[in-house]
């Protein structure tokens, strides 16, 4: 691949601005990306990262300013043009065609392939590309059966096949296991070797330090800083992101005193998913489920909430043996489940905050004949707005217009209003910015203090260590062990989660 002269950036934005009626905008961004560098972009939600990507990939057009590729001014009207310019993007949710096989997924939009498909050549070329990435993947398999990591591989192969010069990766590791992250990092390094500029967007600062050469911080649609990674610290980066210093993770050293046993799970199992899960949960206790993606932690949450009932084992809630076959029964027992997927399972995005907040406890707001007492409902939601610091002028706003962190708080409000005895939080801070993350953590601690028994399912190990009284580690549907927080460390939890050490008896 021909390299442009050293001093000409492969991609440059000059004074780019973009305004929307409702969502985050970009103002006056000037920014350069060099060939062969991994350039991380960080910032809180709403900082303008997504808008930036959309402008580079031609999904949006800037209102003013110019975009230059290899020193030449370009107008990227749509994604096809971006592709021709050698710009490709890989998103957190991989963009594959489930009904097509791997090879066709890679080459579907290729002009070079000609009008008539030559299937044999297609498979051979695809195999070559997949080999070059350094993984094994049957190119004849339908994409519907691929894991997320495999789907990402397909996307990377697609980008490579297009001789991509600028590859944007938007939160590529959000749903990957540790192994898969390692593999992805290796691929990124290889791309860099080939002179590809990788724009790497991530909430995980450790990853930024691990692979990025330079890092750019955006805040409120403005370009705050661009530095060599060697010259910044985590603290300075966070300060740039939020505009103030934050004591991010106060490590919890001592477990809370906790009260009576509210939940007792014994030998829980579901065919082919998980088996032999046993634990107790007490009033005022925070129990964290740690493990890699795919370790079936969420499935335990779904079983306790009755969405996907367990097939074996017993559940005792407050000392009473209970069978939970649907969410309604779970709620009647005082169990609440805050899903990891806000968009698909958590909130009705085009409905206002108050309607979302009252949904699970709607019965409370019904007067005679099933009429909704709107005033009471509204007052309740508004109360949570102040209590949880939901940043919104009132509770009439559609939740879809809020940032990720505020949406997460609406989810919490919705379930707190059911006054649960047992609150299950599934990845409560995924896609939530640093500032809001600390706030969510504080809310969780307060709840525990008030006597709620909390289960937190999280892939974020620092978060687990900051919140938990006890940690249950899972791996591939099996319970590997339970730690008291006093005995837990990043290393011993990880060793169990990855299977490097043997399962241990509950502490």
């Amino acid at each position: 691949m021909a390299q442009p002269p050293e001093n000409i950036p492969i991609l440059e934005l000059r004074n780019v601005s973009k305004n929307f009626a409702l969502t985050a905008a970009l103002s006056d961004i000037s920014w350069r990306v060099k060939a062969g560098e991994v350039h991380a972009v960080v910032g809180e939600n709403g900082a303008g990262k997504s808008t930036l990507i959309k402008i580079i990939t031609g999904v949006h057009q800037p209102d003013s300013g110019e975009v230059l590729v290899e020193g030449k001014k370009v107008t990227i009207q749509n994604t096809q043009v971006a592709q021709q310019l050698g710009i490709a993007a890989i998103f957190q949710e991989p963009m594959v065609f489930p009904d097509l096989d791997v090879a066709e997924n890679i080459f579907i939009s290729h002009r070079k392939m000609g009008a008539v498909m030559n299937w044999r050549k297609l498979y051979a070329d695809a195999e070559l590309l997949i080999d070059r990435i350094g993984v094994t993947l049957d190119v004849r398999r339908a994409a519907s059966g691929l894991t997320l990591a495999e789907q990402q591989t397909v996307e990377i192969a697609r980008a490579l096949s297009l001789n991509v010069k600028v590859l944007i990766m938007d939160e590529p590791t959000a749903s990957l296991s540790a192994h898969e992250v390692d593999r992805l990092m290796a691929i990124v390094a290889a791309l860099k070797e080939r002179g590809v500029a990788v724009i790497y967007i991530s909430h995980r600062l450790d990853e930024v330090f691990r692979i990025a050469d330079r890092v750019t911080v955006l805040r409120d649609g403005r370009h705050i800083s661009t530095n060599d990674v060697a010259l910044v610290t985590e603290t300075s980066m966070i300060k740039d992101m939020v505009g103030r210093a934050i004591d991010q993770f106060a490590l919890k050293k001592v477990a809370n005193d906790h009260g009576d046993k509210v939940l007792s799970v014994k030998n829980l199992g579901r065919e082919n998913i998980y088996e032999d899960i046993s634990f107790d949960l007490h009033r005022g206790e925070v129990l964290c489920f740690a493990g890699l993606i795919g370790s079936k932690r969420t499935d335990i949450g779904l079983a306790l909430f009755g969405v996907q009932p367990a097939q074996a084992g017993t559940i005792e809630v407050g000392g009473v043996p209970s069978t939970i076959t649907n969410p309604k029964e779970a709620m009647a027992l005082g169990i609440a489940y805050v899903s990891e997927d806000r968009r698909k399972l958590g909130l009705a995005m085009t409905m206002p905050i108050f309607a979302n907040a009252s949904l699970p406890s709607l019965k409370k707001f019904l007067s005679h004949l099933g009429m909704i007492d709107h005033n009471a409902e509204y007052a309740m939601a508004d109360n949570y707005r102040t209590q949880l610091a939901i940043r919104s002028p009132n509770v009439n706003i559609d939740v879809g217009k809020l940032s990720g962190g505020n949406q997460q708080k609406v989810m919490l409000a919705k379930w707190l209003e059911t006054h649960p005895r047992i609150l299950i939080l599934d990845e409560p801070t995924r896609g939530v910015d640093v500032g809001a993350k600390a706030e969510v953590h504080n809310i969780i601690r307060d709840l525990a203090k008030q006597g709620v028994a909390v289960i937190v399912i999280s892939s974020d190990l620092p978060e687990v260590l900051a919140l938990a009284d006890r940690i249950l580690v899972m791996r591939e549907g099996r319970q590997m062990g339970i730690f008291d927080i006093a005995n837990a460390s990043q290393e011993n939890v990880m060793a169990l989660a990855t299977g490097q050490s043997k399962p241990r008896v509950a502490a």
Binding site: S50, E93, T350, L359, P360, L362, M371, N394
Partner: protein, 339 residues
């Protein structure tokens, strides 16, 4: 989404009303009414106003039920066939010597059963309502034809014909009174009750509803059984009004019914819409048809106008949005993480 009011203040609320879909409908209705009054002298007579409703009374009753179905992000294409089935079953039973009163009750149960069949496949098995009700559009119509083959059956008891023909309270026929009662009940149910709220949430995102403890299967079942029953009732009114039934009774009515609902601002993707909008669009469609009929425009052209209205009710908001946003590709919903 720009059209929606975001503030509680009444002053701005009235301002937004005229920028909202309902506001637009009021304006369109006003234009049609004035045009009709200007063009057709007998337009404002009571008899014409009653006629205007009477000719479409069955459709507008079903439109009320359809509003619930579409807000819950489903569709029921089988309503006209259920109307036909109920009308044919009534004719068949009465001809077989059954008292009309008993036949009416049985026909309502037939409608509920038809709705329950839809509900079973849609709510319990999980097959999309578009496919199920399309199959049942054919299936129920087929059953109606099985009952009457190619005969036309009339000779209903005189009181049945009278119900369809004459005023029940004053000059208002029973079907019209039933429409008004259902409008009030359905309007309150949709906008003021917990059930209505749950219907909106299901239309917005059924998984969110399920994860919030809403019994989605039950609510969907209720809606389709309700739709079937209401359609059967409408079919009976149709039979009574025409005093004779053939196998193709009410054939193709689903087009008009769905048009009324969508023109009323109910989103085909669910979760959005109001009874007020549907009422306004019913008035628009009826007055338009009535005006055209009085101007001696044939039924087929009227159907074409309805077809154009149906397409425009979705196309025009889209075009306006396109104009507002310089680049049309922008609106594409692409889920990009982060924001």
């Amino acid at each position: 989404m720009m059209l929606k009011s975001e503030t509680q203040s009444w002053k701005t609320a009235t301002f937004f009303f005229f920028k909202s879909w309902e506001g637009l409908l009021v304006i369109i209705l006003a234009i049609i009414l004035s045009a009709n009054m200007f063009l057709v002298p007998q337009f404002l007579t009571l008899q014409n106003q009653i006629n205007l409703f009477q000719l479409s009374n069955e459709k507008i009753i079903v439109a009320l039920a359809m509003t619930f179905i579409i807000i819950s992000a489903e569709i029921d294409l089988s309503v006209a066939s259920v109307m036909g089935l109920s009308a044919c079953a009534f004719a068949y039973l009465v001809q077989g010597g059954m008292p009309a009163g008993v036949a009416i009750v049985i026909c309502l149960f037939v409608g509920a059963a038809a709705g329950a069949i839809n509900a079973f496949w849609i709510a319990y098995i999980g097959i999309p309502s578009l496919v199920v009700t399309l199959a049942m559009l054919i299936g129920f119509r087929g059953l109606a034809r099985v009952l009457l083959e190619d005969k036309g059956i009339g000779n209903f008891p005189e009181w049945v014909n009278a119900l369809g023909r004459d005023g029940f309270i004053g000059p208002f026929p029973l079907a019209f009174i039933v429409f008004v009662i259902l409008l009030i009940i359905f309007g309150i149910t949709l906008h003021r009750t917990g059930f209505g709220r749950q219907v909106y949430v299901i239309g917005n995102n059924a998984d969110v509803a399920r994860y919030s403890g809403v019994n989605v299967v039950r609510i969907r079942s209720i809606l389709f059984i309700m739709s079937g029953t209401v359609s059967a009732l409408a079919g009976l009114f149709y039979a009574a009004r025409l005093a004779s039934v053939r196998g193709d009774a009410a054939n193709g009515f689903e087009l008009d019914i769905i048009t009324m609902v969508l023109l009323g601002g109910v989103s085909i993707f669910g979760g959005k819409g109001s009874m007020l909008g549907v009422l306004l669009s019913i008035l628009i469609v009826l007055n338009l048809r009535n005006g055209m009929a009085l101007e001696n425009i044939t039924g087929h052209i009227q159907t074409a106008v309805i077809g154009i209205l149906l397409i425009s009710s979705v196309l025009i908001p889209n075009l306006i949005e396109n104009l507002r946003i310089s680049n049309p590709t922008k609106k594409k919903t692409i889920s990009v993480s982060g924001e």
